[in-house]
């Protein structure tokens, strides 16, 4: 009986450790052709035309989901690399609207503090974590850059059910983790 209890405790510890490692060092969100597409007209209607209009050709919509579960979030941003690829050398970098987070039905639930996937010369690495019932309650961020900063983790965004929005965490909870800049 005692051995059986030890076995149960060992299994519980392994499950906890597995869950912890998934949060701390999981794969970063990959903005590829599988997850990210051209917007459909209805999605463009969610955006402020004055801010996004000049970049409409370069707007992409990424679907965020946990594995094969239904889409939890829609991330809309201007893909700066596509924009600058079409521009001549020595083009001045443009002020692009910040990436926005929506529910699949179009309710805005937050924005990212830096452009995604890139804000040349920086790249923004995202980890969607703390999944509950198919919805990520935490977004961890890292700016990867060739500037003097190197890789810099940013305070994470937390989903607040009361406001139904992601807000940047402040205080002690804003601590970054070593894995925020990994997993790409």
């Amino acid at each position: 009986m005692r051995t059986f209890h030890h076995l149960l405790i060992s299994i519980a510890v392994l499950i906890l450790l597995a869950g912890h490692s998934a949060h701390a060092g999981g794969k970063a969100f990959i903005a590829d052709e599988t997850a990210c597409k051209n917007p459909v007209p209805a999605q463009l209607d969610w955006l402020d035309a004055a801010a996004w209009g000049p970049f409409s050709e370069y707007v992409r919509v990424c679907s965020v989901r946990n594995g094969k579960s239904p889409v939890a979030l829609v991330l809309i941003s201007v893909w700066a690399d596509l924009y600058y690829s079409d521009k001549p050398a020595r083009t001045e970098t443009a002020a692009m609207p910040k990436p926005l987070l929506f529910t699949p039905k179009g309710k805005q639930v937050g924005e990212l503090p830096a452009n995604f996937p890139t804000d040349p010369p920086a790249e923004l690495v995202l980890h969607f974590s703390d999944w509950r019932k198919g919805f990520p309650y935490e977004i961890r961020l890292c700016v990867v850059s060739q500037t003097a900063s190197g890789n810099q983790a940013l305070p994470p965004l937390r989903y607040l059910p009361a406001s139904q929005r992601y807000e940047q965490v402040t205080g002690a909870a804003a601590a970054t983790r070593s894995g925020d800049c990994r997993g790409r």
Binding site: D119, P120, A148, G150, N151
Partner: protein, 164 residues
């Protein structure tokens, strides 16, 4: 006498920039030795930031700029892995950030950094090639990091005697 402190700081920054083109910590160290304490030991950027956090007074950027214009050494910095970065606020008026060309390796293309607003000028050197991190008062405290979200993490410190 009132003009001598800013002039001393400016000369110290210019000298440190010329002497240490590839090491931000050595450049800042030279300014600290010249203006604050000639016996100050050298610390790498991350260690220097720990030392400043423990022994200097953290100041807001506006206050730091005011102090620098009066000739006080104000160090800005952000820890990083493996190396952080440190700089000194250069005595002078605020100026537009950006305005320089940089090579964006991912697209193999040169782009021009746009201004993100006016900031105090800085003395900054770097072992890296980022042009925004090399400044003899001709770039701003924003430019070494060149990202608003990252710059929000940068802190500034002044010697304790200069806090009021």
């Amino acid at each position: 006498m009132a003009d001598s402190a800013p002039t001393l700081l400016k000369v110290a920054c210019d000298t440190a920039y010329d002497k240490n083109p590839d090491s931000c910590s050595h450049a800042v160290w030279d300014v600290v030795k010249a203006v604050v304490d000639p016996k100050e030991p050298h610390r790498q950027a991350n260690g220097m930031i720990d030392h400043l956090t423990a022994n200097w007074t953290e100041v807001a950027l506006d206050k730091g700029h005011e102090l620098a214009r009066a000739g006080t050494v104000v160090v800005g910095g952000l820890k990083g892995t493996p190396n952080g970065h440190v700089l000194v606020i250069y005595p002078g008026d605020t100026a537009e950030s950006g305005g320089y060309d940089y090579f964006y390796a991912k697209l193999k293309k040169t782009l021009k950094m746009r201004s993100r607003g006016k900031y105090p000028p800085c003395m900054s050197t770097s072992m890296g090639s980022w042009p925004g991190a090399k400044s003899k008062g001709d770039k701003t405290v924003w430019d070494p990091w060149a990202n608003d979200a990252v710059f929000a993490k940068v802190k500034f410190w002044a010697p304790k005697a200069a806090k009021s």
